[in-house]
């Protein structure tokens, strides 16, 4: 094969290019107006695409974050655990307060959850709404609950040694004992009342039921945990009573339903559960120190011994407590019209 080109090839090639250019310039070139149209269409298309995609990304933010939050609370039953810790804290730290776990509402927002529920108090034979709670959790970190109390004589929100109502036999009585008896005497017979009873000595739970006047109902037992004599923890922070409901609550949602365990066993289980979630329990409880590990160890060593109780019944029956040597002091709680049927 020869590398040499035919002398006419170059000429042919040049002619071909020339003709092509001419043909292109005459027949294929776009007018300036058309070019501008194509450019504008492209520009508008790009602009529209940018707007649509930006809008989509912005609108996806809230649903995606909501979904992540729901996954966070659902996986491993985190929300249920928080609900259980909050409700159990109330059972063991609020005397004669119960709640309907089935009516606890959860309101899940972005990376947060509100728990909303009512609490009740048994006065006489009826349950009365005592107030409501709104506990805000930022993920699993609780804020102090917002509480609304409907009680006439609520327990103090910030407990102190001077405001304690259930008192250990070795603790000083901070209120006027005779004044409280006078309140009971001054109430009409046609009423029912709730009293916080402090005993002169420690008793076994089963003994308390026997020493109470017959026409009364024992509602809640305050358990000696080793800190009640001083009423403060080792750092001097006031503590409040911890205890458990004295009666079996047959409702399915109550942990104290008496089906598999006695109330004492449930109480110990709850304390163990709360000790593992003490930060949440401390926020929900009125006392800002629970010292649960120390108190559990004390109960395990000494058994459940009761130093106080909440009793409800006809006022006339409650007056009989004054004659009982086992009773050291009472503090009158709520009073309602007769409902003792």
């Amino acid at each position: 094969m020869s590398d040499k080109m035919n002398p006419n090839d170059d000429e042919l090639y040049q002619n071909f290019i020339k003709h092509t250019k001419q043909a292109y310039n005459t027949s294929h070139i776009l007018k300036e107006e058309d070019q501008r149209t194509i450019f504008n269409v492209g520009k508008n298309h790009a602009r529209l695409t940018n707007i649509f995609i930006s809008l989509a990304v912005l609108l996806l933010i809230i649903p995606v974050m909501t979904l992540i939050t729901y996954f966070y609370y659902a996986i491993g039953g985190r929300a249920d655990k928080l609900i259980e810790v909050a409700s159990n804290t109330i059972y063991v730290t609020e005397p004669n307060i119960n709640l309907e776990k089935i009516k606890i509402e959860d309101d899940i927002g972005l990376f947060s959850m509100h728990l909303l529920f009512d609490v009740n108090k048994r006065i006489g034979k009826e349950d009365y709404k005592a107030g409501d709670y709104d506990i805000f959790f930022a993920l699993d970190q609780p804020n102090f609950p917002k509480k609304t109390s409907l009680l006439e004589r609520p327990l103090p929100e910030i407990p102190s040694v001077e405001t304690e109502t259930l008192l250990h036999p070795e603790a000083k009585v901070p209120f006027d004992m005779w004044g409280e008896w006078d309140i009971l005497k001054g109430l009409p017979d046609g009423t029912v009342a709730e009293v916080y009873v402090s005993f002169s000595a420690l008793h076994k739970p089963e003994e308390i039921e026997q020493i109470m006047p017959k026409e009364t109902e024992l509602r809640w037992l305050a358990v000696d945990t080793g800190l009640e004599a001083k009423q403060v923890d080792k750092e001097g922070v006031p503590i409040t009573a911890i205890g458990y409901p004295a009666q079996v609550d047959s409702t399915i949602w109550s942990p104290f339903n008496g089906r598999e365990q006695t109330n004492e066993e449930v109480f110990m289980d709850i304390l163990t559960q709360l000790s593992k979630n003490e930060e949440v329990a401390t926020k929900v409880a009125r006392a800002k120190s629970l010292e649960l590990k120390e108190r559990i160890a004390y109960i395990k060593k000494n058994g459940i011994q009761v130093y106080g109780a909440v009793v409800t019944g006809p006022t006339s029956e409650l007056r009989k407590l004054e004659q009982m040597k086992e009773v050291r002091a009472v503090k009158v709680g709520e009073v309602k019209l007769w409902n003792w049927k």
Binding site: H28, L30, D34, I38, T49, F52, I53, L55, A56, L59, L60, I62, P63, T66, L67, Y70, F71, Y73, A74, G77, A79, D80, I83, I102, I104, E105, D106, D107, I108, I252
Partner: protein
């Protein structure tokens, strides 16, 4: 080799439009979903969360058959509408598992 602007057929135009429609449909449903979440409505608007995204997916699938237009809008439209359906399903499932009541 030729350079010219080809005229699009009506079918091609419609198919291309289906992709855009799917995207817009999805954005609209997404906006309603945002409003429902922000206003914390008790009941989610069923039409916008179930039926609307289904239409959006159908339009998206049609939009994918285009040859001369980019399929970007159709893909986005399908993605958003599938997300809304998935979101609705997952929310129901998760809401059932949290604080379940008999």
């Amino acid at each position: 080799m030729e350079l010219e602007i080809k005229k699009k057929s009506t079918f091609s135009k419609l198919v291309g439009l289906a992709g855009i429609l799917s995207f817009v449909w999805g954005l609209f449903s997404l906006a309603i979903l945002n409003a429902a979440l922000l206003l914390k409505t008790e009941t989610f608007p069923h039409f916008f969360l179930i039926k609307n995204p289904m239409f959006g997916i159908i339009f998206g699938v049609i939009g994918l058959f285009t040859r001369r237009r980019p399929r970007l809008y159709a893909w986005w439209g399908m993605g958003i509408n599938i997300f809304i359906l998935l979101f609705t399903f997952l929310m129901f499932m998760l809401a059932w598992t949290i604080n379940a009541k008999p």
